[in-house]
C-alpha cells in the first residue's frame, strides 16, 4: 500500500499571533506541521504498518523552511518526501493548490492520498476535496475510524452531519482525517537519525510540471480581502451569593439576555 500524505507547515497557534497593517507579523513565529496533517501522517504509517507493505510519501508546497516539516515527518517514520518550493506559488488559494497537487501527484503511483481535514491556519478544509475532484478519485472526508483495509478497498467511519457514517471506499482514493482518529506519534531519536538518509526530492515550479498560470495570484479563485486579529475574549462573569441567588441570576441571563429558551 503506497500512500501520499499532503502536509502543510503552519504557524504554531500556541504562540501569540499578531496582525499588523493587514498582514501577519512574521517575527517571533514558529512553524509546525498542521496538527491534522500530523494525524494524516500517523494514519498513513498505521495503515502501512498494519498491511506490512508499502511506503509513505510526504508532499508539501511551501517555502524553504517547509523542509523542516518534511524532515520531522520523515523522523516520525515516513519513507520519503517531496518539497515543491517556488515563489510562483505565493498567493495561491485552496483551488490553486488543489490544481497544483493534482498535477504533481498525477503520474505518481499511489493507493491513497491522505490529508488533515483542514489546515490549522486557514481552517478552510477545501484542498483535499478539490484535489479528489481534479484527479477524479473517490473521497471520504473527516474520517474518524478505520475499518478493514484491503488492496482495492477500505472501510471507514466518517463524521457526517447526522452522526457517524460507515463507508466502503474503492481505492485509490482521497481521505481527510479527524484528530480523533489517532494520536500522532512523537519522532524518535532513531527516526531523526534515519530521516537524514531518506530521500527528499525538491522541485521548483518548472520541475513540478505545474502550469504557472494555474497557481499563485493568477490561478486563485479567492482573495483575502482583509486579515484581522480576532477580538480578545471577554472576561467571564462571576456570580456571587448563595446557590439560590446565583442560580436565579444565571437563569435570568440565559432567558432574558441569551434568550436560549425563546
Amino acid at each position: 500500500m503506497n500512500i501520499i500524505v499532503l502536509i502543510k507547515q503552519v504557524v504554531d497557534v500556541e504562540l501569540n499571533i499578531r496582525v499588523k497593517d493587514g498582514a501577519l507579523v512574521e517575527d517571533g513565529l514558529n512553524y509546525v506541521i498542521s496538527s491534522w496533517d500530523e494525524i494524516a501522517i500517523e494514519t498513513a504509517l498505521q495503515i502501512v504498518e498494519s498491511v506490512g507493505d508499502g511506503e509513505v510519501t510526504l508532499v508539501t508546497i511551501g517555502p524553504d523552511q517547509a523542509a523542516e516539516a518534511l524532515r520531522k515527518g520523515l523522523a516520525m517514520g515516513a519513507h520519503k518526501a517531496i518539497h515543491v518550493s517556488d515563489a510562483g506559488f505565493d498567493g495561491s488559494d485552496s483551488f490553486a493548490y488543489a490544481k497544483a497537487f493534482a498535477k504533481i501527484l498525477g503520474d505518481r503511483d499511489c493507493d491513497l492520498i491522505i490529508a488533515g481535514k483542514q489546515a490549522q491556519d486557514t481552517d478552510a478544509g477545501l484542498t483535499a476535496g478539490m484535489l479528489a475532484e481534479f484527479m477524479d478519485l473517490p473521497q471520504a472526508t473527516n474520517v474518524t475510524k478505520l475499518g478493514q483495509i484491503a488492496a482495492d478497498k477500505l472501510t471507514l467511519h466518517r463524521g457526517g452531519d447526522n452522526g457517524s457514517e460507515v463507508i466502503e471506499l474503492s481505492l485509490p482514493a482521497v481521505l481527510t482525517v479527524n484528530d480523533s482518529l489517532y494520536e500522532a506519534r512523537l519522532a524518535s531519536l532513531r527516526g531523526i537519525m534515519q530521516a537524514k538518509k531518506k530521500p527528499l526530492e525538491t522541485l521548483d515550479l518548472a520541475g513540478s510540471g505545474v502550469d504557472a498560470a494555474t497557481v499563485g495570484i493568477a490561478g486563485r479563485q479567492t482573495v483575502i480581502d482583509q486579515l484581522v486579529e480576532p477580538e480578545a475574549r471577554q472576561a467571564g462573569q462571576k456570580f456571587e451569593g448563595d446557590e439560590e441567588e446565583t442560580t436565579k441570576q444565571v437563569l435570568d441571563l440565559l432567558v432574558n439576555e441569551a434568550k436560549i429558551f425563546a
Binding site: 517575527d27 523542516e68 520531522k72 512523537l186 531523526i192
Partner: protein, 608 residues
C-alpha cells in the same frame, strides 16, 4: 503561556549549542559524521517536544501521588511507567550511548542540551535515566563482552533500568567505609549488606533492575582500595528473583516521583553478583564514571533555575499589584504588572543570568567531553583537563545556584509562590537534593582543591588559564569591552585566591587548606559562569549589530524583532551577571584571604 505550564526554552538552548559552541563543527570528527546541523536542531526540538508532551504532565502528579511500597514492591505514580517506556522506545534514554551498545551516539554537547530540555520539565522523573545511563557506561567501559551483550542494549533502550548502590547506613560521603561483602562462590559472588538512599532502587518501570553494587571481598585491603564493583540484577538470568529486598521507601522533602530505597542484599544468602572487570577496582571504576553523572546532577540545578525563571517571569507578566514607582503617590494611576517593579525585575534578571550562566558551564562540560574523546589528538589532554576541573564546579555550583534561583522564583510570586497552587515550591523542594546526592557539594569542593588543583602538577589550572585567554585573540565590540575589563579583574582575583588558599596550608595544615574549599569553588563557579555568559554576549552583540545595521532605528528593531530582543537581552544578562552577581566573588576571595580558623578552634556544643 501561563505561570503553571512549562515550556522548554528552545531558543536559548539552540543558541548556546549552535551559535556559541558551534556544534556543527563536531560533525568533522569521524564519530559524528552522520550528524549535521539540521539533525542537531531537530534532536533538541524533539527532546523539548517529548518533554512537554509526555514528561511535563507528570510533574505535579509525581509530587502529589509519590511512590508507594506495596508488598515489597515499589509502585510509581500514575503514568510514570508508560512515560519511561516511551522514552526508551523513542531513544531518549541512551542518546549518548554509542550505537553498538543500543544508543544513538549523539555528541555530549547535544546530548547535554537535550537532557537540559528533558530534565527541566520533571526533575524526579529524570533521575532514573541518569542512573541507568551511568550503569550502562560502567558496563560498556569495564564489562566483559558477555556482560556488555547482556546488559547494555537492554538498559540503553529502557527495557531494563540501573541503579548505583554506594551508600550504606554508616558510609555515605565516606564511601571507603562500606561493609557490604562479596564472597566468591563458583562462577559468581554472594553479596551481603544493606544499601541506603538508592534512587530508583525498586520500581515498576521495567522487567529487571540492574544494581551496580560496591562491596568488599573478605581479604580486601581497608578503605577505598579494597572496594570492588558488582553487577547485581534484581532478576537472575534464569528468571528467578535474586535475593534483593526493599526494606523501606524514604519519605522525602522533594523528588517524590523518584523512589529512594533502603535495599537489603543477601538476606537469604542467595544474592548473586557478577564482578565487573577485576577485584578491588570499584572506586577507580566509579571515579571514571563520575564526570558524566555529576554533570547530569549539575543539569538538575540548571533545570531548577530555568523552571524558576519561566514560571516567575510568566507570573510577573500576569500579576497586577501596586503602582509603578515612577507614578509616585498618585493613587489614581493604573496598577502595574509586578514585572514593572524594579526589585522584581532585578530578581528575574538574577534568575535569568544564573540560568544562562549555568547553561554555558554545563554545555561547556559536554563540549569538553566531545573534544577530549573525539577531537584532534594534540588538544585532547587540554580538554580532558578542563573537563576534570569543571565537573565538581558544574555539579556543586550548578545545584547550589539552581536551588537559590528556585527560591528566588518563589520570592517573585510572593505568597502564592509558597503555596501548592504554583509549581515553584515543588521546584525548590525537588532541587534541594542536588547539593546532597552524587557526592555532597562539600566533597565536590574537596575534589576541586584537593585533587584537581594538584593533579598533574597543576596542569588542569594551566589549561584553564589558557582557556580563559579566549577573548585576547578576538575583536571585542565596545558594548562588551567594559564588562570584559571588569571580568578580567575577577580572573586575576581567581588565581590570586588559589595562591591564598595554598598559603592556608602553611598556617593551618591540610585542615586549613580545605576549610574554605567551598568558597573557592563558588568563586570559580561565578568566574566561569560569567566567562560563558561573556562568550554568549559576544556572539549576541555581533548578531545584534548586524541586525541593527539593516534596521531603521534601534527602537523599531527592538520593537519588531524577537531575535534582536533575544540578543539585546543576552548582553544585558551578561552585564547583570558581571556587575550584580559576580561581586560576591569578592566576598569569597576575602574569606579565603582572611583565612580565619575560628571555626576550627571553636569547641562547638549545644548549650541548651
Amino acid at each position: 503561556m501561563s505561570s503553571t505550564e512549562f515550556k522548554v526554552d528552545r531558543r536559548d538552548i539552540q543558541f548556546v549549542v549552535n551559535e556559541v559552541f558551534e556544534a556543527e563543527k563536531l560533525c568533522e570528527f569521524p564519530n559524528f559524521s552522520d550528524f549535521d546541523m539540521d539533525t542537531f536542531h531537530l534532536i533538541i526540538e524533539e527532546a523539548a517536544h517529548f518533554a512537554e508532551k509526555v514528561i511535563v504532565p507528570l510533574n505535579a502528579v509525581g509530587d502529589s501521588e509519590g511512590c508507594v511500597l506495596k508488598e515489597g514492591q515499589v509502585v510509581t505514580p500514575k503514568g510514570f511507567k508508560e512515560a519511561w517506556q516511551q522514552m526508551g522506545e523513542n531513544g531518549w534514554i541512551g542518546l549518548n550511548v554509542p550505537p553498538e551498545f543500543g544508543g544513538q551516539g549523539v555528541p555530549e554537547l547535544v546530548s547535554t542540551a537535550a537532557t537540559d530540555a528533558l530534565v527541566s520539565s520533571n526533575q524526579a522523573f529524570l533521575i532514573i535515566r541518569f542512573l541507568t545511563s551511568g550503569a550502562v557506561n560502567l558496563i560498556k567501559t569495564f564489562g566483559s563482552q558477555e556482560q556488555k551483550a547482556t546488559y547494555c542494549e537492554k538498559m540503553a533502550t529502557g527495557k531494563w533500568a540501573g541503579t548505583m548502590c554506594l551508600t550504606e547506613p554508616n558510609a555515605g560521603t565516606a564511601v571507603g567505609d562500606i561493609i557490604t561483602t562479596a564472597t566468591k562462590e563458583g562462577d559468581h559472588y554472594l553479596i551481603k549488606g544493606t544499601k541506603m538512599f538508592i534512587s530508583s532502587g525498586d520500581h515498576d518501570f521495567t522487567d529487571n533492575i540492574i544494581h551496580m553494587v560496591l562491596a568488599r571481598l573478605p581479604d580486601a585491603p581497608p578503605g577505598p582500595k579494597g572496594i570492588s564493583l558488582f553487577i547485581v540484577p534484581k532478576i537472575r538470568h534464569d528468571g528467578t528473583p535474586n535475593d534483593v529486598t526493599v526494606v523501606n521507601l524514604e519519605h522525602k522533602m522533594g523528588i517524590h516521583g523518584s523512589p529512594t530505597c533502603l535495599l537489603s542484599f543477601g538476606d537469604n544468602k542467595q544474592c548473586h553478583g557478577e564482578l565487573l572487570q577485576a577485584e578491588n577496582q570499584g572506586m577507580s571504576q566509579m571515579f571514571q564514571m563520575m564526570n558524566e553523572s555529576r554533570l547530569q546532577i549539575g543539569l538538575q540545578g540548571l533545570a531548577a533555575s530555568a523552571a524558576a525563571y519561566e514560571f516567575a517571569l510568566s507570573y510577573a507578566n500576569e500579576r497586577v499589584q501596586g503602582i509603578a514607582i515612577q507614578h509616585g503617590k498618585d493613587q489614581n494611576a493604573a496598577r502595574s504588572l509586578i514585572v514593572e517593579h524594579p526589585d522584581v525585575k532585578r530578581m528575574l534578571m538574577s534568575i535569568k543570568a544564573t540560568t544562562e550562566g549555568l547553561r554555558g558551564l554545563m554545555y561547556a562540560c559536554g563540549y569538553f567531553t566531545d573534544m577530549c574523546t573525539h577531537g584532534p589528538e594534540d588538544t585532547r589532554e587540554h580538554y580532558q583537563n578542563l573537563l576534570d576541573l569543571s565537573i565538581p564546579i558544574a555539579k556543586a555550583f550548578g545545584t547550589d545556584e539552581g536551588f537559590q534561583a528556585a527560591c528566588l522564583g518563589i520570592q517573585v510570586l510572593g505568597g502564592v509562590g509558597y503555596t501548592r497552587d504554583f509549581p515553584l515550591e515543588q521546584n525548590a523542594r525537588d532541587a534541594k537534593i542536588g547539593s546532597i546526592y552524587e557526592g555532597a557539594n562539600g566533597v565536590q569542593a574537596l575534589d576541586l582543591v584537593g585533587r584537581k588543583f594538584n593533579m598533574k602538577n597543576g596542569a588542569l589550572l594551566q589549561s584553564l588559564q589558557q582557556e580563559l585567554k579566549y577573548f585576547e585573540q578576538i575583536t571585542i565590540p565596545k558594548e562588551i569591552q567594559g564588562m570584559l575589563d571588569e571580568w578580567n579583574s575577577y580572573q586575576d582575583l581567581l588565581f590570586e585566591s588559589i595562591q591564598n588558599l595554598r598559603e592556608l596550608t602553611k598556617s593551618g595544615g591540610p585542615q586549613g587548606y580545605v576549610l574554605y574549599a567551598t568558597n573557592m569553588l563558588a568563586l570559580m563557579g561565578d568566574v566561569l559562569c560569567a566567562f560563558y555568559l561573556l562568550k554568549q554576549a559576544l556572539v549576541a552583540q555581533n548578531k545584534f549589530e548586524a541586525l541593527e545595521a539593516e534596521a531603521a532605528s534601534r527602537e523599531s528593531l527592538l520593537e519588531e524583532s524577537t531575535d534582536a530582543r533575544f540578543y539585546w537581552n543576552k548582553v544585558r544578562t551578561a552585564e547583570h551577571y558581571i556587575l550584580v552577581l559576580l561581586p560576591r566573588a569578592l566576598s569569597n576571595a576575602r574569606i579565603i584571604k582572611n583565612g580565619s580558623f575560628a571555626s576550627l578552634q571553636a569547641k562547638l556544643e549545644l548549650t541548651i
